[in-house]
Point group: D2
Chain length 143, copies 4
Amino acid sequence: MTAMMTREDVTRFLAEVFPQMGPEFVIDLLARDRAVMRLRVADQHLRPGGTVSGPSMFALADVAAYVATLARIGPKALAVTTHCSIDFMRKPAAGQDLIAEAEVLKLGRALAVISVRLRSEGQLDLVAIASLTYSIPPDKPAA
Amino acid sequence: MTAMMTREDVTRFLAEVFPQMGPEFVIDLLARDRAVMRLRVADQHLRPGGTVSGPSMFALADVAAYVATLARIGPKALAVTTHCSIDFMRKPAAGQDLIAEAEVLKLGRALAVISVRLRSEGQLDLVAIASLTYSIPPDKPAA
Amino acid sequence: MTAMMTREDVTRFLAEVFPQMGPEFVIDLLARDRAVMRLRVADQHLRPGGTVSGPSMFALADVAAYVATLARIGPKALAVTTHCSIDFMRKPAAGQDLIAEAEVLKLGRALAVISVRLRSEGQLDLVAIASLTYSIPPDKPAA
Amino acid sequence: MTAMMTREDVTRFLAEVFPQMGPEFVIDLLARDRAVMRLRVADQHLRPGGTVSGPSMFALADVAAYVATLARIGPKALAVTTHCSIDFMRKPAAGQDLIAEAEVLKLGRALAVISVRLRSEGQLDLVAIASLTYSIPPDKPAA
């Protein structure tokens, strides 16, 4: 079995349905059950002291989980996050992109559970770990 | 016992230490153990369909928890979020500000636990509920 | 609108479908959207030092959330916990029952979200706070 | 750097400080940053239908995280769970032991964060994933 959408498919789909997300979120890699996303860190993502803000890390984890799910279920803009639990463990390195690796742990009919690990580029230690649940809209009978 | 910082104190402190946060986050009310924050919803907070995005809701919950904690411990820019668990339950109402009510459930020497409930203005049903943990830096011996 | 099951209904239903749960879990109060459960603390629930163990607190939060959900949806043994996030904030008081107050925050077609607050009997401070998600089985067409 | 306690050390320590835990929790493997624990499933761990109950899964995740932490910090009975977030994804297989693999993601001065993955023995799919936070008591100055 293979992914239902390629990296190019998903990138185009995101630009259409989430135009606000902007070009700072980049898909580095997309495989069945796994997506690697990069946040090109810029000034608007920083907290005082030069580290990436919590909301920017949350946004990266959320989009990485969404992309990994899309790759499995195909283009469904209506999949929505119903839960996120995130542990912030270390300060992101200043001046480095943030890399999120998302793994689809479960893909049921109604729910997907995705685990996401965040690192600063070039670092081994985790910056944060998150677990997200996506609610998947039922297919319309006649679609 | 009373709060250590007033609404004006905290607003001034946030503008100094988090200049990127911007004027869209407003403290509506500040009391001992409790803060009410408002997100003046604008285009950059929206998802397609006109509802507030997950990262914007996370940002509001996070700052509400931070403000409620500051009111108790005084101005400590270095308090950091170590955990957030958030359930997204309903779509925020289109065209309405988002209101977060934060309650400090525990304030220990090293950790604070804060519960935050999010509603669209004028609505009774919860949009989201979050639980956040803040790590509180130890006081410097000679400060 | 009223609850679909009374306290007696739910107690009888639990004894049937969860005989292992035992008589130490007692429904103190059942109302629409709200249940209060008591754990009659005994030796098997204790950690060294005489406080209630984490698994016992988890079990109480879980059953309180289940009972509050049953009261709304009627007897469905197949509702299952899909997520629990729990913050342990204070040691339970030694020699006191543990009281859980569960509030149904959302009851959708497929998911229920329940917030649970745990206290030692007679204490105001929270021992723990939990948020649980229950997956609700779809009604069978001809049932 | 090596673990501070061997499997035998930790097993002996648990039997001393958690006599209630019982012989059904077994350490299969202990390494630096990693512990594998087994729950020898017996009747008292089951729900109707023959699958392991949520509280039993929570208990296994909790003790696996504790053991993995002990291996790093040495025998501290007072390390306490401050948070657990757990996603239940699949029914455990009937009649199989449950296996938890715990990984210490962060070991700070005050907090440890541990990720735990649960599987039924012999199965690849995850039954549950949990993230736990342990609060580590400060060393006494003169100890």
